[in-house]
Symmetry: C3
């Protein structure tokens, strides 16, 4: 693969062929993890998390360590020189010298792209504001591929906050690379960004706006997202929205027998814990698949760098 | 040993025979550490600390790394998705996919037990509220065994706050597995939990309530505990209690020549630094023995998992 | 070298010969890093950071991991037993048992020296209040040596806050070990500590107090420092001082063609980002050289400990 040394700022930095190859590598890593242990021995990944994270940070760290590599970094700005007023730019230009690649999560859109301009080592976007979260999209696609056998022809319903969820942007752009994909958008007014919507349509995705019930009934994959209180304008708006698209167990009666429910997590009220016992609930498996997918990505990007 | 893959939520999850074998392994690890380096290579321990810790977290991490393994996790909820309202349950179910075993410290009693119900990987209790702290009890017993040669027949005085100290609960339950143990309880009204007291008596421990002076005079092991301001009802109660059972150097004159003073640390006023220069002061050695004991535990639990 | 097992509390704990040998080792580590990978396998460095840091902590961690060793510790007191009132002394005496050497950063002058008295393992000062920062001085000297070919005979201008910058104290003491060094001090009243000044003069350094312009014109190395708001008496004083010694690109026109601009970072207004594009700007390279220098130091101190 030609991922060696490349930045991954947007999911569109990879082609469909590269995604497919990445998934084959991830599958091998699930099957024969010990074959890959030691393949990044002596290499260092910097994890720079300017915003809280559990899954992205810990799964990247676990992935790096499963490959025999190691990690330096921070999980919040507390305890760093950012407390003394150091700029983002100076921080990444400094840390560049301490690592072979870096993962960045930041509240500002474009932060990872900015870092990629500034430094020579590969930069992986671990989530930039409400814009993108490409490795989450890789995990989402990989989960669909593992559970459904293929991504071409899939019918995915996206629920709830499609406006502020960076995972949704990256997932829609990722799905657009596949054939015969149908998207069902079910949102209480928090609509997909126009540039993402248009890109999907341009690439041949069939997009339909539907109600929650229709989404549940039609979809092969239900992709639920959290209404992000921290990105909404008012507490009032949050209270109005948070229950509107709640995936109540009762409405799941109408779903297909082979339904797959995904969620990038963390979840709140939109995905009640009663759903956890349904066969369709695959979101913890999805979280766990973050490790082989990120192992594959680090392996392809960092080998021989 | 049959510890492989097992949870350690309570000290009573181990039998006396298993404790004895654990201590023999720990002793070998002290004597020939390099024999064990690499034995957990490629394995990952998750350390999930929802409450502050220095000794438990760092000694677990050091133990894991001394065995060639690695660690992922967090030392406070700051910087994790718990900040975005993620539940404890979702956090542990997620992290399960990133590790081969997990250590949990949490302010709520029963947190580790709850995690053990939810996940497949072994769960080790690193302290749950005021209930238990089994690996501290292992370190306490091991220290007594190393310094005294045996645990059977020991006379242990427990000082100060016996009500809120999880270390005391685990230690009393641990000592109850041995023969001819005598406990001297010296407390300013913060008495041992009744279920722990009753279990000890049932198992044949001789228990006596005594004053501070008598405890010091009689004991082979003085186990001092911190009056935990954060678990008391009022600042007034704290002020009244904190000096009442202070181990003043002057009262140590009455002690046996072979006295062993232990403390799970951190300490406050109850154990003045003047005591540090006494031959009996063994609490830093006790802290350091946390590494071989936890190495032995991780080795037995995680090998071949 | 005889650094094995020694404390590095002050830069004066090393002789000139030891510094020179350290730099030769660092150079080898830059050229053939893989020769050294694994040389500290199984060793643990404790990083105890009671104050924020990006460069010192992350470059020590990267250095240790590049040598195949590992790290335990904390990047802020948050999440440690210091939150429960544990003393600095008890913390270091405890952590001693978990590591083969420790790096300490602390807001109090003398903290590292105090730790070195208390523990057996080597203690490295990672910055103690406004007093010293010896490994930063090693990095500074090494950068000059790498870029200029030698340190003897160098003309160094020190700008801005010479009173509160521990890096300046350590650098001046370090330069005093070399021959024919000339120091140009340019400060808005925040003068070098008298004991450091006197030591430099006693050792034969020529010291001159100059204005900013003269400093820029004369110097081979311009060493810029941050005016440290957190160590000044008032916000008013900070506002008055912060721009007074700002290194404006316009005044750099007068500089020598081979000028080297260094800064320990983080920077604020005193070093405008417009300077970054100048050939003379070497401060990010300086930050990156922190890794080979600290690798060399850890290697020499920890080998065979």
């Amino acid at each position: 693969m030609k991922l060696r040394g490349r930045d991954v700022v947007s999911i569109t930095d990879l082609s469909r062929e590269e995604l497919d190859e990445l998934f084959r590598t991830a599958r091998l890593m699930e099957e024969r993890p010990s074959d890959y242990y030691g393949s990044l021995k002596g290499r260092i990944l910097a994890v720079l998390f300017f915003e809280p994270s559990t899954r992205t940070r810990l799964s990247f760290e676990a992935a790096m360590k499963r490959l025999g590599g190691d990690v330096v970094g921070f999980s919040s700005v507390e305890g760093t020189s950012l407390m003394k007023g150091e700029s983002f730019e100076d921080t990444v230009r400094t840390v560049e010298g301490y690592c072979d690649a870096m993962v960045i999560r930041h509240p500002a859109e474009g932060a990872a792209a900015r870092a990629a301009e500034l430094v020579e080592v590969p930069v992986i976007n671990g989530g930039d504001g409400a814009r993108e979260h490409p490795t989450q999209a890789m995990v989402d696609l990989y989960t669909i591929w593992r559970l459904r056998g293929s991504i071409d022809g899939v019918k995915v319903a996206l629920l709830a906050d499609l406006q502020h969820a960076r995972t949704v942007n990256s997932l829609v752009l990722a799905l657009s690379m596949y054939r015969d994909v149908k998207l069902l958008l079910a949102t209480p007014g928090l609509r997909l960004r126009s540039e993402v919507y248009e890109e999907a349509v341009k690439r041949g995705v069939k997009v339909e706006e539907v109600g929650l019930k229709e989404a549940v009934k039609e979809a092969e994959v239900l992709y639920v997202t959290r209404v992000q209180r921290e990105r909404l304008k008012s507490e009032e708006e949050y209270l109005r929205l948070k229950d509107a698209y709640r995936l109540d167990p009762s409405i799941l009666k109408e779903a297909r027998g082979d339904l797959i429910i995904l969620h990038p997590l963390p979840r709140r009220e939109e995905l009640p814990i009663e759903v956890d016992s349904f066969k369709a609930a695959k979101y913890f498996q999805q979280a766990h698949l973050g490790v082989p997918v990120r192992m594959a990505l680090l392996y392809e990007v960092m080998r021989g760098v």
